[in-house]
Symmetry: none
Subunit: 194 residues, 4 copies
Amino acid sequence: MKEFGEHGYSTGSLNTIAREAGIAKGSLFQYFNDKLEFFAFVCDEASRRIREEMERRMAAIDFDQQFDEWLFDVMCDWSEYMEAHPLERGVTAATNFELDNSVRSVVRDTANQHYLQVIHPTLQLWQEKGQIRADADLEVLATTILALLPFLALAPYYDGLDPIHGLRGRTPAQQRPVIRQLIAGYRPMFAPEK
Amino acid sequence: MKEFGEHGYSTGSLNTIAREAGIAKGSLFQYFNDKLEFFAFVCDEASRRIREEMERRMAAIDFDQQFDEWLFDVMCDWSEYMEAHPLERGVTAATNFELDNSVRSVVRDTANQHYLQVIHPTLQLWQEKGQIRADADLEVLATTILALLPFLALAPYYDGLDPIHGLRGRTPAQQRPVIRQLIAGYRPMFAPEK
Amino acid sequence: MKEFGEHGYSTGSLNTIAREAGIAKGSLFQYFNDKLEFFAFVCDEASRRIREEMERRMAAIDFDQQFDEWLFDVMCDWSEYMEAHPLERGVTAATNFELDNSVRSVVRDTANQHYLQVIHPTLQLWQEKGQIRADADLEVLATTILALLPFLALAPYYDGLDPIHGLRGRTPAQQRPVIRQLIAGYRPMFAPEK
Amino acid sequence: MKEFGEHGYSTGSLNTIAREAGIAKGSLFQYFNDKLEFFAFVCDEASRRIREEMERRMAAIDFDQQFDEWLFDVMCDWSEYMEAHPLERGVTAATNFELDNSVRSVVRDTANQHYLQVIHPTLQLWQEKGQIRADADLEVLATTILALLPFLALAPYYDGLDPIHGLRGRTPAQQRPVIRQLIAGYRPMFAPEK
DNA sequence: CATGAATGAGGCTTCATTCAT
DNA sequence: TATGAATGAAGCCTCATTCAT
């Protein structure tokens, strides 16, 4: 996760991985047929960990509040999780920044499934609770959140992702106003008529 | 543009570029000190071309309509431009998918400046025209559009970018319903009270 | 036989053999001390099979005819056998095309012994029957036949072995005219005076 | 020529070649796209040298004698040439012992062309001179000689090629009786009626 | 007797960059 | 200004063999 997270698929070095892991180069190929299979495994593993941890955290968040408040809490947790887990964050970057389609399609589909299996039911639940307007477009909302997640995860650590709010370099605590601003901006998309 | 657009910075090969351009490998280094300087130049050039062409096209779009109608026209133009210009699209992908921060910061800032110098004044103009609600958050709107542009540019051509609306593989004409849906979804963010 | 026959000794892979055989890599070394011993066993086995089958077939061929007619029948059988037994044919190629002397000497001597133990007595028999001229040089005849056998076995399946008669790609039936032509050409070497 | 001649295509090492040539590994690829292209070049070069030298020598051989005497002289020259040129001999072995069809077809066709462009016209010439029987089959004769050449070139230096006459280890001078015996054995194939 | 993970040397090839011409 | 051969490090991957289980 460290090597691939820092350098991505094509620039990540199996030699380096073997050296830092203290095993022989050839040993890597006992478990994976080639570099791509290895990378895919690492990405799957990271996606799974991220999802499991986030589900655990979300279960602890107060469900008896307005949707935008709840979303704010979730996104702050997300922000803190990513700050505390540089390995998972690195792999998230590696999958989001992969250019090669044949590599990308292998790793992105898995990640997207994990995300959507959380996002879709959650949005429906909130709509049923009446906290999301009945005529809101859940697909557009899901797309927005699906884009917001890597944005919040990476913008504080990678240059050029957020030239508007200036997330780059901010701690999770310092990110909170921006998160609040973004959710407030999106609020009309889902907010029920008063 | 072809080589870097297809393979990105680190995987793009100067050997290949020289070979396909029909010039000597050494000649590249007459004009650029190293690979990064070359890549930066290519990205700048692409960003400039994209911006100029889009400004030209936007000037031809009817300004006497509602903001969301106008935005729809612009985004359709953007979609058609990207379909017609695979080289520029490739470089767009290469800059958006670059993982290495020291490379990324060089190319993204330029691109973002180009984008924002168009987006910011435009949004202000539409707000002054009263077509964007006075209390709408122009920053969040700008961030949304800044994310929407690469999304629409790349999702039809790269796997795993849009698992919700299924833009992958669609022609510009087939993308139009999705563009309309997205803008309709975003509409409450800026739409003036009726 | 499959792996060594297709790729020869040095390029043949014990890993592949174990994988395709469905046994563990280590198990190979329970029965053979090293790769060469294994290869030698496979070649011996193939030589033995080839010899036994050809002796069986030769026993069924009419012995009451002229030597060249008989030889034609034998060679056609040989041609058909090789077509029907790609594994044995492959090993034949592997032993004939082995460059490394230390490997070659191990496998060729066995094969040659098998061939000569059939060829020598047979030629003597035919000479005693008076169908081979008394002053014919049986050694040269044996050498000729010893060269003819791999030639007929492999030329239809390997490039560049027969640039004159064009055996490459021919079915056994299509090889028959060439076989007849070759034996007719050799005929003066052994034919008794009329 | 040394490395490929000793170990053949697949076992020959580019690392070794570069090291013994005193150049960098990468430099090999300035002139050849891959190993096969390199090997093909080496084989072509060797074939050309062999042909040119043999044509030079054949021009010095007395043409006013019987065909079998002339052939004996040529084959003795061939035997001496191969003894004096271990590099060319090695490459000859490498092309004759190559198992991989895709490699083999590349190098054998060239070699065969060189051989046949000498053999065919020569045989015709001798037939016109009346030294080869009018009804002799020149194709079979050519095939015989085409097989005799690598046999004489390699049998003295490689195990298991000649289990009958025992050429292995013989000097050119010691090979002469065998060469004479072989040609005497083949003589009836072409000798004119007395 | 069977297993299969571990090894580490070696395989071919690509790369950005230099520099003498 | 243009060239392109030379470099040598680094890339991924395969290999036969060992050995503790």
